[in-house]
Amino acid sequence: MAKKVLMCGNEALAEAAIIAGCRFYAGYPITPQNEIPAYMSKRMLEAGGVFLQSESELAAINMVFGSSLTGARAMTSSSSPGISLKQEGISYLAACELPAVIVNIMRGGPGLGNIAPSQSDYFQAVKGGGHGDYHQIVIAPASVQEMADLTMLSFDLADKYRMPVMILGDGILGQMMEPVEFSLQPSAFSLQPKDWILDGCKGRKPRVIKSLILNETELENFNLKLQKRYREIKDKEQRCEVLYGEDSEIMLVAYGTTSRVARSVVEKLRKIGKKIGIIRPITLWPFPERTFKKLEKSVKSFLVVEMSCGQMIEDVKLAIDCAKPVHFYGRTGGKIPDEDEIIKELDAISGFSDRRSDRG
């Protein structure tokens, strides 16, 4: 068994990328993700790959574009303002069917905001972000161990579906230290030769990788092809963790850092016999709709907890067709919802926690 090491989330993610076979990293400094380029600047060279500190996030994502089209596993990382700059490149990656992993360690916004943790880029990540009818797969780790494991998964998904994958973390996940074990091995995908890359046309016909499609019918057909792939992904790649799905009357819904707080609330209230559980989406796109559909019948209401003014809540409502009440509790600006606040919110919904007796 691999031994556990104490690492911060950003470094665990970077090490996992190397293990997954990532051999190209380009990025521009921004807090709270600076540990990733710092780690890569050393480790990537040891691994025989390329590390580049680019002149901007625009340049970084386009360097990743260039590297990816040669068949390399390529990654860039940034935080909210920098991710806004990458949107152009992400749209081009999607259009050119190029795999890439993009890490967003979210911070408070809008604008320059602050460097405290946040989940306010959810819309940008799951609804498109850049121009055009495209999607990226969005993965939300909730621990340092998942920062590692889900990074490896992200590279596989990017290659499998030939599209950008975003890892959506926040400042806490990036910077907190936890024990982590690098037990996963690179999958078969990382070893498969890619038959679409540009590496010089020796022994084959020249290839073109481009996104301009002037003919309307051709462009519509291309979009339909993408949509077909997106449907396949929605069908096969929904991931989430459910706690107490069998008998919960109220379900918390939270991802990433907030899911950890929500989870302790659930455990606390379970101890006093409350029928409460949690759904923790791991893929934010595709959203784990099936799980919601399944639990919708038995659950009386949902409480979505986010570090935003209410973004994922829209997907929860859509997933259950607003069949049950969906409540929201969020903090922003770098504030993290705490357990008491969530319990108070539950109280307001249904007198749920029975706090008087709790206090004794």
């Binding site: 051999r23 190209f24 380009a26 390329v50 580049l52 680019s54 002149e55 901007s56 625009l58 340049a59 970084a60 386009n62 360097m63 990743v64 574009f65 260039g66 590297s67 990816s68 089209l69 040669t70 068949g71 390399a72 390529a74 152009e88 490149g89 081009y92 050119c96 540009l198 590496d199 010089g200 046309c201 020796k202 022994g203 020249p206 290839r207 073109v208 990788i209 481009k210 996104s211 301009l212």
Partner: protein, 242 residues
């Protein structure tokens, strides 16, 4: 009988979409001749820009990708760093390289990326309808400078070769023109050198090509080349800058 003129292997047998008298076709051909001469077609990756030359891959018979507007040098960097033994070149217009992509070109040059850039300066944004480019001359009329470019509002024509020539990462910067056959031959020599530098690993090479856009100069093909040869070269002197 000896054949003295033929289609380069690297160029597809296809009519181009360029306007009559446009310089892009000439530059495409010269690049393909050089590619054939150097025998690098099978290890070559070209990058088409956003601009009139965006579908250069319809004419070039080797691996080609297409970058977002202005991002050619960043894409080239990603390719070359991942495949250092391949030959990578970018093709850019003056809007692409001199306006939206200024940061990318300066930093690729400054890093001394071992790539080749062919920069087609036609003093306008051809593709979008002849708007002012950073390279537009003072007093030159364009779609967005109807009474001529004024320095007070729009600044000065941007001298890319001069600008890049001060960067130690640049191995070679030359400005050429394609307004007559003698100059096309000189352009070919320069483009060849820019590729040879890359083969030798000497670092960043750029060839700026002054090129006519008769359509948006509002001139006949004949007058457009004359204008390039007589007027444009005054603002943009030909020669080696580094």
């Amino acid at each position: 009988m000896d054949k003295i003129f033929e289609k380069p292997e690297s160029i597809r047998d296809k009519e181009t979409h360029y306007c009559p008298g446009c310089g892009h076709g000439i530059v495409h051909r010269v690049i393909c001749e050089v590619v054939d001469d150097l025998g690098i077609r099978e290890k070559l990756i070209g990058i088409a820009p956003v601009g009139c030359a965006v579908i250069a891959y319809d004419y070039w018979d080797f691996d080609v990708t297409e970058a977002a507007h202005g991002r050619v040098p960043a894409v080239a960097t990603g390719i070359k760093r991942s495949l250092p033994d391949r030959i990578v070149f970018g093709y850019q217009g003056d809007g692409d390289l001199g306006a939206i992509g200024t940061a990318e070109i300066i930093h690729a040059a400054n890093r001394g990326e071992n790539i080749t850039i062919i920069f087609v300066n036609n003093t306008v944004y051809g593709m979008t309808g002849g708007q002012m480019a950073p390279t537009t001359l003072i007093k030159q009329k364009t779609a967005t400078t109807p009474s001529g470019r004024e320095q007070k509002t729009h600044g000065f024509p941007l001298k890319v070769c001069e600008l890049l020539s001060v960067l130690p990462g640049v191995a070679y910067a030359e400005r050429v023109s394609v307004h007559n056959p003698q100059n096309v031959l000189k352009a070919k020599k320069a483009i060849k050198k820019a590729f040879e530098n890359q083969i030798k690993g000497l670092g960043f090479s750029i060839v700026e090509v002054l090129s006519p856009c008769p359509t948006y100069l509002g001139l006949s093909s004949k007058d457009a080349v004359k204008w390039v040869g007589e007027e444009l070269v005054k603002e943009y002197p030909l020669g080696v800058f580094r």
